[in-house]
């Protein structure tokens, strides 16, 4: 009883801190999250703050709220009003009295027409000054990592690409973990014999799933398709999902009415077989090929790619969760929970799940690394990601096409490499910290 306030979380964090590479990786990851969150402020072709003809503007911030913000200044000498549309004004050309540029004064999707055709970071770069002369660029406005064929700034592309890479990790692995933990927990906890329910409930659930998909997706498919083309598809999708859940729950409730005679007899649901076969089938198809095929069918969209990666990456997590649950369900505290008459749901959610999550976290960390790798492979191949979205993989692909533009290969490649490495290192650190059995 020397450590009175011992908790596993504290212990794990102490262990994790001892692992220097993992800790450094965590700091780098926090820095990357910071970059991703503040990307529009870090890399923007509009000034953060400027004073033009006596008026003060904050263009980079104003366009965050209203992308096509208009403003006008009155020229004190001529008395004429000059209209500025913030996002298409070339602020570099204006004779600004005071200006504070973003650290990287370029946006990822706008080409700099004075520095087209792969300008190296060390080459001479040019710009048009307020006197309409094309001169060598001042150091403050240099493309520090060079440009691509249409003059887009590489550094800015990398900064904004961070958002996509991190989002892929979060969203894809979020979906994958929900599916994987849910199915793995069911399969491991119940096995083939222990998930008992009356026949009425079993059959009504199956019927409910069928009907739910029919009403959720079958009937609503045109509503959904129209909504996706007009831009608010996510809401319609959420409505569909709620509808599906409601129908399944409703059918399960309805089954209580039919609980008599033959239908009331309890049967076991072979949930483990279902899940294991599902995992085996998905594992038998190379993941990259499956994802390429699916994403070639649909409209190109980065969100869709994330969802597809998530929907195909849950097998590893499900396997880990299943194995943990197989072990845990025999342990005393779960048996105790069962014999105290707690519901299965409570035994899973409150007793088994918290103890099974440690290895799952590890596989999620590794899974994020592989999700990022897959996304960058897809954008490298030019599949699924729209052309106007700048990602690390698509930048690297530009470099592949031009043998002289080494900067287009080195910088994005290093960014991908760095992100994958830190996730792998964090995964290793987590594994050592969360699994004391591996520690000797």
């Amino acid at each position: 009883m020397e450590q009175r306030d011992f908790s596993f979380k504290k212990y794990a964090w102490q262990q994790f801190k001892k692992n220097k590479p993992a800790l450094i990786s965590l700091y780098i990851l926090i820095a990357l999250v910071f970059i991703a969150l503040f990307a529009p402020v870090i890399a923007n072709d509009q000034p953060l703050y400027c004073k033009y003809k006596g008026e003060t503007f904050y263009p980079a911030f104003s366009t965050l709220v209203n992308p096509s913000k208009l403003d006008s200044v009155v020229n004190p000498e001529t008395g004429l009003a000059e209209v500025l549309q913030f996002d298409i004004t070339d602020w570099r050309k204006l004779d600004l009295e005071k200006v504070m540029w973003a650290p990287i004064p370029y946006s990822p999707d706008k080409g700099d027409r004075y520095n087209r055709e792969y300008v190296s970071p060390f080459d001479e770069q040019r710009y048009k000054n307020s006197d309409n002369q094309i001169v060598a660029i001042p150091n403050r406005l240099r493309h520090i990592m060079g440009t691509d064929n249409i003059g887009r700034d590489l550094a800015s592309g990398l900064i904004h690409g961070t958002r996509i890479s991190l989002l892929v990790g979060v969203l894809a692995m979020g979906i994958a973990s929900i599916i994987g933990v849910f199915l793995g927990a069911l399969a491991g906890f119940f096995g083939d014999r222990n998930l008992l329910m009356p026949r009425s409930k079993y059959y009504f659930t199956l019927l409910g799933v069928f009907l739910a998909f029919f009403y959720g997706f079958g009937v609503r498919k045109y509503t959904l398709a129209n909504a996706f083309t007009s831009g608010n598809g996510i809401w319609e999708l959420v409505i569909s999902l709620i509808l599906i859940a409601a129908i399944i729950v409703g059918m399960r409730l309805l089954s209580i009415v039919f609980k008599f005679g033959w239908l009331a007899k309890e049967v076991s649901v072979p949930i483990d077989t279902f899940v294991s076969r599902g995992i085996e089938i998905l594992n038998s198809i190379p993941r990259l090929i499956l994802i390429i095929t699916i994403s070639a069918i649909f409209v190109r969209s980065i969100w869709l790619i994330m969802v597809i990666i998530g929907l195909t990456s849950w097998t590893g997590i499900a396997r880990f969760t299943r194995a943990e649950f197989l072990r845990i369900r025999e342990l005393e505290y779960v048996q105790a929970a069962k014999s105290l008459g707690y519901s299965n749901f409570r035994a899973i959610a409150k007793h088994a799940l918290p103890n099974a999550l440690a290895p799952v976290f590890v596989s999620i960390a590794f899974g994020v690394a592989s999700a990022i790798l897959i996304e960058s492979s897809l954008s490298f191949l030019g599949i699924g990601v729209p052309d106007d979205v700048v990602t690390w993989g698509s930048l690297l692909n530009l470099g592949r096409q031009e043998f002289e533009a080494w900067w287009l290969v080195m910088f994005p490649g290093f960014a991908i490499f760095l992100t994958i490495t830190i996730y792998n290192l964090i995964g290793e650190g987590l594994r050592d910290a969360l699994d004391p059995r591996l520690k000797s």
């Binding site: 069928f210 009907l211 029919f214 009403y215 079958g218 009937v219 498919k221 045109y222 076969r277 085996e280 089938i281 594992n283 038998s284 198809i285 190379p286 990259l288 090929i289 390429i292 095929t293 699916i294 070639a296 069918i297 690394a369 790798l373 960058s376 492979s377 490298f380 191949l381 599949i383 993989g393 690297l396 470099g399 592949r400 043998f403 002289e404 080494w406 290969v409 490649g413 991908i416 490499f417 994958i420 490495t421 792998n424 290192l425 000797s440």
Partner: protein, 498 residues
């Protein structure tokens, strides 16, 4: 053991069916129409939409030959508003439009009669002969009322509008097309043959609207098609030219009408030699390295190799591949190796002996092979090191040392064999890798192997190829796992399958 094997092989069958079904479902969801692709002569938007009857007929025959005029599967789910013979509609856009209309209005009989009438209206354009109209529309002095160009433009416009009506179910769009066509037909009297059919279709449309019964799309229905469907014929053959997958016939490619079997066989050896060679090299390097760094655990050597291996492990293969190309196949720096392909078509002679071929291809193979090898090498040495460290902690190693056995014998005889288990898993992946190839590596180096073939068949929506590859890879993966399981039992007698 035999019983276990038999059970495993029996499980193959449903899994394979599920994989092929999955591939099939993905394929039919693709928006592209293979018939349009194959009959490139038929230009849909251009040529004033005047697809001649001849091209329509060739398309029809093509569909029949490819089996596309059949339902996809044994049954389909739908609502009672759905038409159960929709698969017979040739044009993919038309069938999508029909499906959407019947979803909105409920009565597919009315929908199909409206749609049919529109089709008739469209076909009636071919009855109009430009010269005849030109001759007939002259005033008393013999001056033409309309120029030939104008007549042609008007016919084209009417054709275009009706054609776009055939592809939309949006009531607003349809209403606006109706009104614009109305004005067109009232302005140009010579369009009366089309006008007659058009008015009829308008009547049918209003009829369809008045009898709207949207509730029908809320009642589910299972439509049964029987064994005359695409999947069944793909699996068992149609009893004529196609033999079916069960007899080893994967059908024909949509791109060049070549049998898929020959296409796969001509490519698979390239991917196979790459994966075999790379696994071989990876084993040759990583097993000794893994053992040695485990043996020298926590020394400087171990730490450095661990870091190097970890860095390699996290390197994306496309980054390594592009870096290698940049460094060793770049005219500006070093031009040691060729950039792409596996042979020089101007020099290569098919009559060469095996060794001459190998010598000719060696420079082409080196860069891709390095890219192939490093990732599995990094992965393998990490596994190997952990495995050996684990084994070194076991009691029997201590016993072996305690009884005075030489270090060499302890490592090579007692530790090695026991740490081989995880390595076997990797060996199981060699077959699927052979056929799946590595899409990325083969694309970077333009190697005409399976990976590249899959990539291009996905881009060209060559469904039979995709389905075949999925099924074969699935089969090989399962074989690989099975072989691995048997090898486990061979290497480690403690494992038995009873």
């Amino acid at each position: 053991m035999l019983k276990y094997l038999a059970k495993r092989i029996l499980i193959f069958i449903p899994t394979l069916l599920a994989i092929s079904l999955l591939a099939f479902i993905i394929s039919i969801s693709a928006p592209a129409d293979p018939v349009e692709k194959l009959s490139s002569s038929a230009d849909k938007e251009g040529a004033a939409n005047q697809q001649s009857n001849a091209t329509k007929k060739t398309k029809q025959e093509l569909r029949k030959k490819l089996g596309l005029d059949l339902p996809v599967f044994y049954f389909s789910f739908g609502s009672i508003s759905d038409c159960d013979t929709l698969y017979r509609v040739a044009d993919k856009d038309h069938s999508a439009c029909l499906a959407e209309l019947s979803n909105y209005y409920g009565n597919w009989e009315d929908v199909s009669s409206y749609f049919h009438q529109l089709n008739v209206a469209q076909l009636s354009h071919s009855k109009l002969i430009l010269d005849d109209i030109f001759e007939m529309n002259k005033d008393a002095e013999g001056r033409p009322n309309y120029s030939k160009n104008e007549i042609n433009d008007v016919i084209t416009e009417s054709n275009f509008e009706i054609n776009s009506m055939l592809e939309t179910a949006n009531p607003n769009v349809i209403a606006s097309k109706f009104s614009s066509l109305d004005t067109l037909y009232s302005n140009y009297a010579f369009l009366s043959p089309i006008k007659k059919e058009f008015e009829q279709s308008k009547l049918l449309y209003n009829d369809m609207l008045s009898k709207q019964s949207s509730w029908k799309s809320y009642i589910p229905k299972i439509i049964w098609y029987g064994s005359k469907n695409q999947y069944h014929f793909w699996l068992f053959g149609d009893g004529e030219q196609r033999k079916g997958v069960v007899r080893g016939d994967f059908g024909f490619s949509y791109i060049d009408s070549q049998p898929i079997n020959t296409k796969i066989w001509s490519k698979v050896w390239i991917s196979f030699s790459f994966s075999l060679l790379s696994v071989l090299f990876a084993y040759l390097v990583s097993i000794p390295l893994g053992i040695y760094s485990a043996y020298k655990k926590d020394t400087k050597f171990d730490r450095i190799t661990s870091i190097v291996v970890f860095v390699l492990y996290s390197m994306p293969s496309f980054f390594i591949g592009v870096l290698l190309l940049y460094t060793f196949a770049n005219p500006d720096t070093l031009r040691w190796f060729p950039v792409s392909g596996i042979q020089d078509p101007t020099l290569y002679d098919p009559s060469w002996s095996f060794f001459e071929k190998a010598a000719h291809r060696a420079p082409y193979f080196i860069l891709p092979l390095i890219t192939y090898t490093y990732s599995s090498f990094a992965f393998l040495s990490r596994i190997m090191r952990v495995g050996v460290i684990d084994v070194f902690g076991q009691d029997y190693i201590r016993t072996a040392r305690a009884k005075g056995l030489g270090e060499g014998k302890v490592v090579m005889k007692h530790a090695l064999r026991n740490s081989l288990l995880p390595i076997i898993t990797v060996f199981a992946n060699i077959f699927p890798l052979a056929i799946g190839g590595s899409v990325i590596i083969e694309t970077i180096f333009t190697i005409p192997g399976m990976g590249f073939e899959i990539y291009s068949s996905i881009l060209n929506s060559d469904y039979p190829m995709i389905v075949a590859v999925f099924t074969i890879i699935g089969f090989l993966t399962m074989i690989g796992y099975l072989v691995a399981d048997i090898l486990y039992a061979v290497v480690d007698p403690r494992i038995s399958y009873k």
